[in-house]
Symmetry: D2
Subunit: 201 residues, 4 copies
């Protein structure tokens, strides 16, 4: 079983990502369950705006797209800015819009029989909404969203510390993250055991 | 296999519901697939505000709650007002909040291994958001949301006709509704074949 | 200058409301500025579902509607459930939908030249979204929303204490609430000094 | 009086923008009212991700930031993808996050006493939500949002034509756009006549 992780931190990998740190808890639990994981740090890559799978020279989205098609599981990890997913999280969803009309050999949208979850950090309130926004797009694209397939951390009210600056509340976020990992793997296995049929024509 | 439908129209059943009319397309497809269906018209019932399963004398929520626990499938059907789900849709989600901490004999949240979808009508834009809001709550409660498990109808821009006042766009909404029905049944069967385990403690 | 406050707590006034407690900070600052305030506790009243101003016998909305029309300022105060405004907050917005087509003597929608703000409490993350949802509806109805005209309190991540069970973070919420009060009064005075014209026909 | 327009189309200006076409109706009405307008086409510019005003060499945000500070009015214009504002709309809001802590000579957040509106096009449902998301961020940043200060166009249900491919519904979107223009100018003048004070310390 494979998982692709899209880390949508605004910071490139020469800087530490709070979002990555929380995501690692989820990934460790999935690795323990035998899942092979590929992480993309979107801020390191050239992913231009658009709604097609390949925008031509210099576009690094096609390699992410290929990884998505090999993975039963997707994790979108994002910070919270102004209560919203990061612009890079929106960028990857926009690029995934093309997948709505891409079909597999059985004429199913390519995201069918795959599952997804969301990890959110922030120095402000907003995680529930960030999760709903991302899941809303993923359900449109064709992913299945399992129960409580998310974890988050923030410490309000108002602007507060970042995840890595305190340990307050980490226990809850980690335990929720391990449940998320188990549900991602569980839903992926259920869909493998009994795959969804192509939509009726 | 059983489905519970919560029609959250603001109108009681002495008036026709546009939302019910579109929902019937989904229900017909599920019935053809052998699903037994129970519909509650929330505006006809006494469902007081609160976040507990039984608010005492006169509260008719407990019978809906019982139906939810017997059903592998849930459909929430709602009109759009000011771009939002109806207040009755929010009311039923609020009452379902108690289900987060109710567990089955295997110590799973009671909504685990159940799936849900959304039907939306409106005389205005807003359906995508209505669907995301409802799904966000349902994922928190423990439901699994299958791919494209929704249908909607509205005809913009601006205030326009109601669903029953025109046939424009009905074909798309019906065909999407039949795909929704198939995916609800498909996800429910996958979760029956390979149920999710209780969350790790 | 007058303000109407709609407290959309799920609890009726025989129980203490966390939302009311935080709202009082805003109201005290407005009273100090000479604003006369009327508070409605929605859970105490009969406000049936619908999108008309008067639903007939037993409907207590008309007295709230009358208060709205006498007030330059509106405050909607709500708890957070499942990351959303309460069902009662949605109920009052739905009833206010009728105000979109009610006009004053100068043919302006009745909410023109009035301003509004939001107070949110919760034992969970969600305030930014709750504020956006409510403001989205109020802007449609015709209210003007001033800068940072909101305050909130919650203490995450995950389910935590209620506002009245701790003093953590209260300082931020109170100071933000006093700024909200000042901005509500400031915007109301600006609109009094130079009222908006009727929309072009 | 000045207005800055941020066109967040995914397409650069070598391709026609549906969003720009609808926005022109609003701009024409503002020009008739004496407003001087500057339009930025974000897809033509280098606006890297981040939450600071100047990210150094090659960052073209500072010139947009300068224009925002000279303008009493801001218009954010965006297409709808997956029911959301474009990733470029999220990008500009993220960059504006820095403005929350930038203050003018009177110690007011720099966005105070400025007003903003939103123009949305799409080949799918979603405009109300796109408007709420953008307004939510702008209110946090310190803008004042006037009544019905938006217009949109889409033609559902389901994926449909683009704005420029039909004239259906254009009248409503144009008339709403002209009301938006009048309200933007009206609110800007009210805030000029009676500016908001700095927040209480």
């Amino acid at each position: 079983m494979r998982a692709t992780v899209l880390n949508c931190s605004l910071k490139s990998s020469d800087q530490p990502s709070n979002t990555q740190q929380l995501t690692e808890v989820v990934l460790e639990a999935m690795r323990d369950d035998g899942v092979e994981i590929t992480v993309f740090r979107i801020a390191d890559m050239s992913v231009p705006p658009g709604v097609e799978t390949d925008l031509g020279e210099g576009d690094e989205w096609p390699q992410i797209h290929e990884s998505l098609l090999k993975s039963e599981i997707l994790v979108i990890a994002t910070p919270t800015w102004l209560g919203h997913p990061s612009s890079l999280a929106h960028r990857v969803l926009e690029r995934m819009d093309a997948m709505i009309s891409e079909t597999d050999s059985a004429d199913r949208p390519v995201a069918y029989n795959r599952t997804a979850g969301v990890v959110v950090t922030g120095n402000e309130d907003g995680a529930h909404h960030v999760i709903s926004e991302i899941n809303g797009a993923l359900v449109d694209i064709g992913y299945t969203i399992g129960p409580q397939s998310w974890t988050y951390w923030n410490r309000g009210p108002g602007p507060g510390p970042s995840y890595s600056e305190t340990t307050e509340g980490h226990d809850w976020s980690h335990s929720t993250g391990r449940a998320m990992a188990q549900n991602l793997v569980g839903v992926a296995r259920a869909l493998q055991a009994k795959p969804l049929a192509p939509p009726p024509s």
